[in-house]
């Protein structure tokens, strides 16, 4: 434990987690409410990125529809809330169940395909969910739906920003803990082996499809959890939260942070949000008015990262010893 702190990776990670752990106190001390809301979204998106990393990073499965789990988790909460079921004790299990079942179903169909076809079929299923969401006229259609936050009477009030943040942070820590175990477990090694050489793993007696399906389903469930949180964060759900561009953002985050690195999703999410917040003012410094068009810089930056920095931020922190 102490030894881990001496590596740059360990130190950076410990610092990040420390700052995140006390973020509500910091934002209160410096009276920066806005930062807490960004922090909350960073934590929620990190959970989603951790879940994508579980299949993309460790399994090599390029799912291009992961934002659909934002939508499924979010809409399950939203629809129940609109129908007058406000208890989180009902909303959350139902939403998790929905995300898990949907992930199992489309995983079973998608994992029959390989390579590009897999990328496309996951994208297609996400679009399907997207259009179902935008067709739900009773629940706001394209415009989305304002909801009230899930109620956990006597336990926690999600309307309190700090409490909600800490809940999200605790869930992120739990996700990271699980992912760390998962990655080096018997299951995780099979998944990583199949990423390296599927034919070999089959010849060793592993029914690769079943392991991938299990991984896809777990990732879907965790993705659903991030959707639940996202809906509660903004008290709002809309199809936009699961547009394919959001799925693209998630892939960007995972690669940016470092695929198959435990804390990669965390680094990636922070970098992504920081770039989003910092590029405009930086560009404005260079030339007044440029900040508005920060994506002109961000887009090519992505191209460069894709081409030359596929190890992501994690690889900048030194070699990984596993």
């Amino acid at each position: 434990m102490m030894a881990a702190l001496r590596t740059p990776r360990g130190l950076a990670t410990a610092l990040i987690l420390l700052v995140l752990a006390v973020l509500p106190l910091l934002t209160q001390a410096f009276d920066q409410r806005y930062l807490l809301s960004i922090g909350t979204r960073i934590v929620i998106w990190s959970i989603a990125a951790v879940s994508l990393n579980m299949i993309l990073g460790y399994g090599g499965l390029v799912s291009f529809g992961h934002a659909m789990f934002f939508g499924i988790g979010g809409y399950a909460v939203g629809i129940l809330s609109a129908e007058g079921v406000s208890s989180g004790w009902i909303q959350w299990p139902v939403a998790l169940l929905a995300a898990t079942a949907w992930a199992a179903l489309i995983g079973a169909l998608s994992l029959r395909t390989r390579g590009l076809y897999f990328i496309m079929i996951t994208l297609a299923f996400a679009q399907l969910v997207y259009y179902v969401g935008s067709g739900l006229e009773a629940y706001g259609g394209d415009d989305g739906l304002n909801i009230s936050r899930s109620r956990f009477p006597g336990l926690i009030d999600l309307r309190d920003k700090a409490s909600f943040y800490w809940l999200c942070f605790a869930l992120l820590c739990a996700s990271l803990w699980f992912c760390g175990r998962y990655a080096n477990s018997h299951f995780g090694l099979v998944l990583r082996g199949a990423k390296s050489n599927e034919l070999r793993m089959t010849a060793l007696g592993f029914p690769v499809f079943r392991y991938r399906l299990a991984a896809f389903t777990i990732a879907g469930a965790l993705g659903g959890l991030s959707g639940i949180l996202l809906a509660n964060e903004g008290a709002y759900v809309s199809p936009a939260m699961m547009s394919w561009m959001k799925s693209g953002d998630l892939i960007v985050i995972v690669v940016l942070g470092g695929m198959g690195a435990l804390f990669g999703p965390l680094y990636g999410t922070i970098a992504f949000f920081v770039l989003e917040e910092a590029l405009p003012p930086l560009l404005n410094l260079a030339h007044k008015g440029w900040g508005e068009y920060w994506m002109i810089v961000f887009g090519p930056l992505l191209v460069l990262i894709a081409l030359y920095a596929r190890g992501g931020i994690d690889s900048l922190l030194g070699r990984r010893h596993e």
Binding site: S185, H186, V190, S196, L199, A203
Partner: protein
Amino acid sequence: MTEPLLRTERLVKRYGGLLATDNVSIDVRPGEIHALIGPNGAGKTTLVHQLTGVVAPDSGAIHFAGRDVTRLATHARVRLGLGRSFQITSVLREFTALENVALAVQGHAGHSFRFLADARHDEALRGPARRLLEEVGLGERAGTLAASLSHGEQRQLEIAMALAGEPSLLLLDEPMAGMGVEESQRLIGFLRALKQKHAMLLIEHDMDAVFQLADRITVLVYGRAIASGTPDEIRANPDVRQAYLGEEAA
């Protein structure tokens, strides 16, 4: 006579107009090494692919360990005791030699739906894996990434992985390809010692190795088994001399 371990019945596989496997019926008995030889493109690898279930035959049947496995998935056949090495070296390049074999042991050790235990320190996997590496002569290289092993070492690693499944039948697709003379000789000795425990279907272009090791030989040409018998019978067979060995003599 003992019941054969593996038996194919008139297997046929077509690739478009090409008959890659043409009514092939062969068998392998417990405790024997059956060599499959034939010129390049004769359909040897295609036959192995069908035996392991990577490729489905168009017609015919495969019996293994007393069961009809023709429609069985690859991983299920492996579970029944069918191990293989690949003609084109197929190891997990990003894993160390020890991890490769440990995964192979894991593949044999029941399901792996275990999410929380640390498999990298599971002695139940690493112990046998280390022993297997010693056996094939890679004990020193346990911690090396498979990608950094020499070609010959990777071939040895493949065999260790195939053995981890404790297969009753080993399918070896050109295990000596690309090996030096010395390495080959070592491997020949090693395989001979193995044959009591593991029957083998051996595909090999190195005729020295084949005639040293094989109890029986089947000659495949253009997908057809043109001859089958003891090494002496094959050496004497005029068809074989003409179709195959003749080329080498010339």
